[in-house]
Symmetry: none
Subunit: 272 residues, 2 copies
DNA sequence: GAATAAATGTCGTAA
DNA sequence: TTACGACGTTTATTC
């Protein structure tokens, strides 16, 4: 039996281009051929496999879900992660971050891809009813990836410029570990009171408030009885319930709109 | 300048297959053509676009990130969401959940895809250094998707209608494997000579010519000495250098403008 | 491995 | 549209 996929010609690549199409499967194939194609490519180093077509997806694990017949894009990455995309959204319809086992086989005349994961025990099953195309690519060479602007960077900036939060504030510790977790900034205000600062890069929610409250209590327990400890939640925004709870707990909110950048922008002119 | 891709025919594969590939672009294209390809497909109703190749990605918005040159898979969904995948993890390396604006243009000789989002103000910029493949799919309302218009379909049609290439041509084999790769169509002409047909969905380039030449040589070696083997490059268009090389190698070019659709049972109202 | 918190979280829904 | 909470959250880090 001749498989209906072909090895791509070598003329597809150039010296700089290390990503190459490895193999392609046409629309013409039997379930057996598709299963063979998948099994030959999945879990191999650097090979990303893609199947597009009418499929059915089942998930069983932390939850359970079934996707009826639909046209989905299935991507299997070299690390064994799998994701099934529909036409909308960044998030896949179904996925499996890491799999212990991936295999395809023919069941009842159709190619079924099974992705298993232990701990937690999860299962994704994709039945390919009508495959439109199956492709495998080599994804070689990965460039460096640099992310900036996370909460840690916010902490970095505010640690050096605590006056943004409040004039006279002096930072004593960053990432101070207490029983309930790590305090972003531990400081002292101009009147000598201890201050616990909780940073949020996004809009602060109730969970941030209770987090701050836990830290404040931890500090109060560590200090001599009667010591006054302030709690400041610093974020660009706060939700209404969070603000109410904050006030009820006698904690404070400090709006952080913009931060002086400590690193060069990617391309500052883009937004001018 | 003729774009190197083709609009797919109106024929449908099956009633169950709702998504189909609309257009395909091969590996050969200029940055201008790639930009045009993207602009024609992106943000259109029901069209999912994919670009695979050596790229560079920048993000600026809630945070900022830069990804150096690497082989990435870019997916643009019909809802305007965009995601750039590397070889690991379910999560994309860069993404944009929903965009207000997506456009591609040539900057400094390279195709740059810009995805803008307001509220929050965010920007993703992808520079395609070397594209391996660009694909576009139609997605129907019901979420099915099926592909059409690929080279495989072209092969399908021409295998059944070899007279389009040349009257009296008889197809002996499809996807005939030889040492140098897979021959799209292996046939015999009206005078009994063997014919190797290489198909290109897009404008044929020199690499297609050398590919065809390799196949012809492989067949010549396999046949008794002195056997005459013709090589035909069938494509909608051919570049000037490719045509010159073709003539120098005594190979032939056959322009394929339109293909008769393969009629299959389907309700034409789906795509109006 | 369990627990904890960050994330460019994403996504859906009610006001 | 905006606010708000849920998510198979995922992912990274710490204990």
């Amino acid at each position: 039996m001749t498989p209906s996929w072909q090895t791509a010609g070598t003329d597809l690549c150039s010296i700089r281009n290390l990503l190459r199409m490895l193999r392609t499967q046409s629309t013409e194939h039997t379930p057996e051929e598709l299963a063979q194609f998948i099994n030959e490519h999945v879990h191999q180093q650097n090979i990303l496999t893609q199947i597009i077509g009418l499929s059915e997806v089942q998930y069983h694990g932390r939850a359970a879900s079934t996707a009826d017949q639909g046209s989905y894009l299935t991507i299997i990455k070299p690390d064994g992660s799998i994701q099934i995309h529909k036409s909308k959204g960044v998030k896949p319809m179904n996925w499996q971050p890491k799999t212990n086992e991936i295999y395809a086989r023919v069941e009842n005349g159709e190619c079924v891809l099974t992705a298993l994961r232990h701990r937690p025990e999860e299962l994704v099953r994709i039945t390919f009813l009508e495959t439109v195309i199956a492709q495998a690519f080599i994804l070689a060479e990965e460039g460096g990836f640099i992310l900036q602007g996370s909460e840690s960077e916010m902490q970095e900036v505010l640690a050096h410029h605590p006056e943004i939060i409040e004039p006279g504030l002096i930072v004593l510790e960053r990432e101070l570990m207490v029983s309930s977790g790590g305090i972003d900034l531990y400081a002292r205000d101009s009147t000598g009171r201890y201050v616990v600062v909780e940073l949020k890069r996004a809009r602060a929610t109730q969970s941030a408030v209770s987090q701050l409250a836990r830290y404040v209590r931890s500090i109060q327990l560590a200090l001599p009885a009667g010591s006054e400890v302030r709690g400041i939640l610093a974020a660009p925004d706060i939700t209404k319930p969070a603000l109410l709870e904050l006030q009820a707990r006698k904690l404070e909110f400090k709006e952080i709109k913009a931060l002086p950048s400590i690193k060069k922008d990617v391309s500052p002119t883009l937004f001018e």
